[in-house]
């Protein structure tokens, strides 16, 4: 079941060759490793572009978003 969260999080990510790949994130006091980035897509919010990452820790599926304009990460939903 998908639970909508939209909570700010701290993320460890690798920026390389114009791409960004989340490796882990801190969520409610736990460090969650990203085992697989299953899909990425963008979302236009006015002039800002939000990058979405569907990531799996092997158990749950998370939708992480990154707003490059303000360098803000959120966990949008968990399944």
């Amino acid at each position: 079941m998908v639970v909508v969260l939209h909570e700010p999080i701290r993320v460890g990510a690798v920026f390389s060759h114009g791409t960004v790949v989340p490796r882990w994130f801190l969520y409610r006091g736990r460090k969650i490793p990203v085992k697989e980035v299953t899909y990425t897509w963008t979302e236009q919010q006015g002039r800002a572009v939000l990058l979405h990452f569907s990531v799996s820790d092997g158990v749950n599926l998370y939708d992480l978003s990154f707003l490059p304009e303000r360098l803000v990460w959120n966990v949008e939903a968990v399944d």
């Binding site: 299953t38 897509w41 236009q44 006015g46 002039r47 979405h52 569907s54 599926l61």
Partner: protein, 398 residues
């Protein structure tokens, strides 16, 4: 792309891979299946089925609500990928494109290499598959791409076209639906070979000017060009419609929805630099009776307020027979947005207000600033129209 929406969801969620999945629109109770995965299709689940019908076909079926942003973004990136092989890319639907590769064959080592390249990159970048067809024209290329699914590739060389068409059922051709197929069958025409040899006078008598076009289709002839996005003709109208979660009888609630639809239409009209003279209101009752009423005004309009006022007048003129299931608003008779400044102070204020709202909403997203009466309506997820395109006036952000 194969079972596009369902394949994207299966890529997103590893738990869905290899299992029967049906993507459903909206999320409300009256939603239908928009795409079924191949695993679900094997059980007989089809597009357009209600959730109950689909579940009856496949008890193990997993319903997934559509995520339009994923699909529209994937489509835009796929079109960008295809554009690396030729500038002539026509977006036929959200998951289908035509490429004119005539001038790219030598550059990329032939059509087969181009197809292999696109398939490999689609798999690597998105984890998706597609079926491709190479043929002398769009009609045959579409036909070829439909022959092998999923992940297929069929080439129809020009010299093989007559033999290929001879025994092919007429219903296989894009543009010949079940109704036309039945009418042709009554004339004794069931294969493309028979259609290509049909008497033009007979077909003109039964199908009008389309009759000769049908004969050309039967011969595998199609001279329509591949039209890239930047050369797509301007739309004749711009509109939005909305199916409600529950049927609505209250006129005031209908007017709130009308205002939201007018704002959606107005935003797109202004963004594309148009104004229009005719507002159309479409109403569908709970029993699916559907009708459209139009009203024209003397000068082209483009502000939300003007569109809403005309639409509201139309609604007021309708004696509602029962609860409303769907409302639609569109603006047609489009022209370029008038450059004439408003003379009346009230109109000037309206124009300035519209401009200011548009600037805020363009910066921060649609409905960031909206009419107060829309606040109680909540969000509406919307569905992707068949006319959606990744650019121009037909692009709608989700």
């Amino acid at each position: 792309m194969n079972a596009f929406f369902a394949s994207v969801e299966q890529r997103c969620n590893p738990k869905l891979r290899g299992r029967p999945v049906a993507v459903i629109g909206g999320g409300g109770t009256r939603t239908v299946v928009t795409t079924a995965s191949y695993e679900a299709r094997a059980w007989g689940v089809k597009t357009g089925m209600t959730m109950v019908e689909a579940r009856r076909q496949c008890p193990e079926l997993i319903f997934v609500p559509a995520n339009n942003r994923r699909y529209t973004d994937t489509c835009a990136r796929f079109v960008a990928l295809c554009s690396e092989f030729t500038p002539l890319v026509e977006v036929f639907s959200i998951d289908e494109v035509f490429l004119d590769i005539t001038a790219s064959l030598r550059l990329f080592g032939g059509g087969r290499r181009i197809v292999q390249n696109i398939k490999q990159r689609l798999a690597a970048q998105f984890g998706l598959t597609c079926s491709a067809g190479i043929a002398p024209n769009k009609l045959l290329a579409k036909l070829a791409s439909d022959l092998e699914k999923p992940d297929g590739f069929v080439e129809i060389p020009p010299d093989k076209v007559p033999a290929f068409m001879e025994q092919l059922p007429v219903g296989s051709l894009c543009g010949i639906g079940s109704h036309t197929e039945r009418k042709l069958a009554l004339l004794g025409i069931t294969t493309c070979g028979e259609l290509g040899r049909a008497d033009p006078v007979l077909l003109r008598k039964h199908f009008g000017i389309v009759g000769e076009q049908l004969i050309r289709m039967g011969r595998g002839e199609d001279d329509s060009p591949v039209v890239p996005l930047d050369q797509t003709p301007d739309p004749k109208s711009i509109g939005h419609s909305m199916t409600f979660d529950k049927d609505i009888s209250c006129r005031q609630t209908l007017e709130f929805h009308l205002l939201r639809l007018s704002e959606m239409v107005g935003r797109r009209v202004r963004h594309a630099g148009f104004a229009g003279r005719t507002v159309a209101l479409t109403v569908r009752y709970a029993d699916f009776t559907t009708f459209t009423r139009r009203r024209s005004v003397a000068t082209p309009i483009y502000t939300t307020r003007d569109i809403y006022c005309v639409a509201k007048t139309i609604l007021a003129s309708i004696r509602l027979q029962c609860a409303v299931r769907l409302l639609g608003v569109s603006l047609s008779c489009l022209t370029g947005c008038p450059k004439q400044l408003e003379l009346l102070p009230e109109r000037q204020r309206q124009q300035a207000l519209t401009r200011a709202l548009d600037e805020v909403n363009s910066r921060y997203g649609d409905f960031t600033v909206a009419f107060g009466s829309l606040l109680e309506l909540g969000e509406h997820s919307g569905v992707i129209s068949p006319g959606w395109r990744p650019g121009g006036a037909r692009k709608i952000s989700f």
